[in-house]
């Protein structure tokens, strides 16, 4: 989806700035919204591991920005309990790898309370968590969104640009269900690290308020030959590969950012696959059991007869994320691997 024209001139924000703005707007709008996590509001601290909450304590104070002990179970459990009582917590994991510390609170409690109560309770919480391999090794580099996309009762959002990050975070805060909100560590900043391909990671963000709905995918680049589905930094690698393929091989890729993994925007995906007849799914989560498998299976179910080639998945290799940059780059999906996959299905 193109960024809407903004009256009075476009602003460009980073994802971190857009998220901060979303949080501030929602906290101003609704007294029941509060933040909870580690190192989020300490004076002289970090404003969260990636600075998203910097400066917010000045406006909202410590009562609504709650710094916790290093207790991920307490963070998630408190968020679940407060949500059950009608508040709208935005909980913060410093790294998505730490979500495994609170799987019980998220999977057994947050996701199931509504059903177990016979549909009488709601759990309107947001859990933000940064993903991605960024030379921090095996325990700070995973992309665990697929674990949660497997859980009925949760919603799973993956954002890749400032416009959608802001609109989706605001929707997540207003959603009456638990939303896992995944951001990629390479995509927060302005300049774009070399690892992220030196991308300009700002996007136009309107001054006026807007929401972007959970459960809607966007077509980032139109094309007729092959559909690429990718999230986070893999999306940008797909876009780079698509430009090169168009210039060098005359192959036009349609690149789709699903944005929400649960529930998936099936209409947008299958419409594209029926048009192109080819599907390549790219994610930084590992291959086996990754969400790409689910998309592939559903594509086979929904539009097998429209397919002209096998469905390909380009994913992180099935190993823990290694540290050495050369090894890490061998694990994650690169533009080269994406290009190879596209050429294979377009043979």
């Amino acid at each position: 989806m193109p960024t809407p024209e903004t009256p009075g001139g476009a602003r460009r924000l980073t994802i971190a700035e857009a998220l901060r703005e979303a949080v501030a707007e929602e906290m101003r709008r609704d007294e029941s919204v509060f933040l909870i996590g580690e190192d989020i509001g300490i004076e002289g601290g970090f404003g969260g591991a990636f600075g998203v909450y910097l400066g917010l304590t000045d406006e909202f104070g410590h009562e609504r920005i709650i710094d916790t002990p290093i207790s991920e179970k307490a963070i998630a459990g408190a968020a679940v309990g407060a949500a059950l009582m009608g508040l709208r917590p935005i909980a913060d994991m410093q790294y998505s790898d730490f979500l495994f510390e609170c799987m019980d609170e998220l999977v057994n409690q947050a996701a199931k309370m509504r059903l177990m109560s016979g549909g009488r309770l709601r759990v309107p919480l947001v859990m933000r968590a940064p993903v991605g391999a960024t030379v921090r090794g095996a325990q700070h580099g995973q992309s665990p969104e697929s674990y949660f996309a497997h859980v009925p009762g949760l919603k799973v959002v993956c954002v890749s640009d400032a416009y959608h990050a802001k609109g989706l975070l605001k929707s997540a805060v207003r959603d009456d269900n638990p939303v896992l909100f995944f951001e990629h560590k390479l995509l927060y900043g302005t300049k774009g690290r070399e690892q992220a391909g030196g991308l300009d990671l700002t996007a136009e963000v309107p001054e006026e308020e807007y929401l972007f709905p959970i459960g809607r995918a966007v077509v980032k680049r139109a094309g007729c030959d092959v559909t690429l589905v990718a999230t986070h930094v893999s999306l940008y690698r797909c876009l780079a590969a698509a430009e090169a393929l168009a210039a060098e091989a005359g192959i036009e890729c349609e690149v789709i950012d699903p944005l929400t993994l649960l529930p998936l925007d099936a209409d947008t995906l299958w419409t594209s696959v029926r048009k192109t007849g080819r599907l390549v799914i790219v994610h930084e989560d590992t291959l086996t059991g990754g969400w790409g498998g689910e998309v592939a299976a559903r594509a086979a179910d929904e539009c097998l007869y429209a397919l002209e080639a096998p469905i390909k998945r380009v994913a992180a290799l099935d190993v823990p994320v290694p540290y050495a940059p050369v090894l890490e780059q061998a694990v994650v999906p690169t533009s080269e691997r994406i290009t190879t996959a596209v050429l294979e299905v377009c043979r």
């Binding site: 509060f34 909870i36 009562e63 609504r64 709650i66 916790t68 002990p69 207790s71 179970k73 307490a74 998630a76 459990g77 408190a78 968020a79 679940v80 309990g81 407060a82 949500a83 059950l84 009582m85 009608g86 508040l87 917590p89 019980d104 609170e105 057994n108 409690q109 309370m113 509504r114 059903l115 177990m116 109560s117 016979g118 549909g119 009488r120 309770l121 709601r122 759990v123 309107p124 009925p152 009762g153 919603k155 009456d176 269900n177």
Partner: protein
């Protein structure tokens, strides 16, 4: 207490007769804890419960009809048949669906307390759990967080000496659960969990402290489960002598004697209570039997709001 005891006795036979599906974890012997604590709470206060929740549910105000129908898996149950024995609860009486993951409620309850604190509602949340849960990380994270935030929470340990079959002394070098509170700057107190008046008194103090913003108390209620952990438990890990000793401290017998001795009630009045309880349970069973099953067609709409 009598309602809980006789409810559980009915459930036992109905389970054996195959009317109640699944499994049940029963509460006979521990009644004083649920009743004493819930009596110290206001109707607007909340509780979290465990895989052994029947007593908590009835004590907090879930009707025998709604509880029994839930065990039968009926649409009229307190969770519309979606919860079952291990997830009894009712938001209308201040009880979350019971949390059947050991220690699971110990972090969730801090969120209840946090909501009450932030909204200045004056409400209190009580969290029931067994001594086995105190070896879960959730127990420690929940208690520490509640303490540092001075949350209006009461942690109620139903210390029945065995985590399923495992004796407490096999899994803790610290004999007292209450002692663990000190590690977090909270108050811990050992309570005679077979004496409903003692439990009520201790709970009332803990609730008052919580409401006053003084933070959580950990009540270590020493009690005993008269029956097995679940219905397949032959109780080979403990002696019949030990069981008989604890049964001499039956909280219902004890209260009955106290009431007769101090003249609060006579035999006839106590008999009448028993009759009312039996009639209520007859009605509950009949209600559950005659209630409709849930409609599978509605199932997929229940997972999301």
């Amino acid at each position: 207490m009598l309602l809980v005891r006789r409810f559980e006795e009915r459930v036992y036979y109905l389970f054996l007769e195959g009317e109640i599906p699944g499994t049940v974890h029963q509460y006979q012997g521990q009644e004083a804890v649920a009743v004493g604590v819930c009596d110290a709470l206001e109707a607007s206060d909340w509780i979290t419960s465990t895989h052994r929740p029947h007593g908590h549910a009835l004590a907090k105000g879930v009707t025998p009809r709604a509880a029994m129908a839930e065990l039968y898996g009926k649409e009229t149950g307190c969770c519309r048949g979606r919860g079952g024995s291990m997830h009894l609860g009712d938001p209308d009486v201040g009880m979350l669906p019971a949390i059947a993951i050991v220690g699971g409620g110990n972090t969730v309850v801090t969120g209840l307390g946090l909501a009450f604190k932030l909204q200045r509602t004056g409400q209190v949340a009580a969290c029931f759990f067994g001594e086995g849960a105190t070896n879960e990380g959730a127990f420690h994270e929940g208690l520490n967080f509640a303490a540092v935030q001075r949350l209006p929470v009461v942690f109620v340990c139903e210390n029945n000496l065995y985590g399923a079959s495992t004796p407490w002394e096999r899994v803790s070098l610290v004999p007292s659960v209450a002692a663990r509170a000190g590690a977090y700057g909270a108050t811990g107190q050992v309570v005679d969990g077979m004496d409903v008046l003692a439990v009520r008194q201790a709970a009332a103090s803990a609730v008052a402290a919580a409401r006053a913003g003084e933070g959580p108390t950990l009540l270590d209620c020493r009690t005993y489960r008269f029956v097995g952990h679940s219905r397949s438990d032959a109780r080979g890990y403990r002696s019949r002598e030990e069981e008989e000793e604890w049964k001499l401290r039956d909280p219902i017998v004890r209260l009955r004697q106290q009431l007769l001795e101090d003249g609060s009630a006579d035999e006839a009045a106590l008999e009448a209570v028993g009759g009312e309880v039996d009639a209520e349970l007859d009605d509950a069973v009949e209600f559950a039997r005659s209630s409709p099953d849930p409609d599978p067609a509605e199932l997929l709409t229940d997972a999301y709001a």
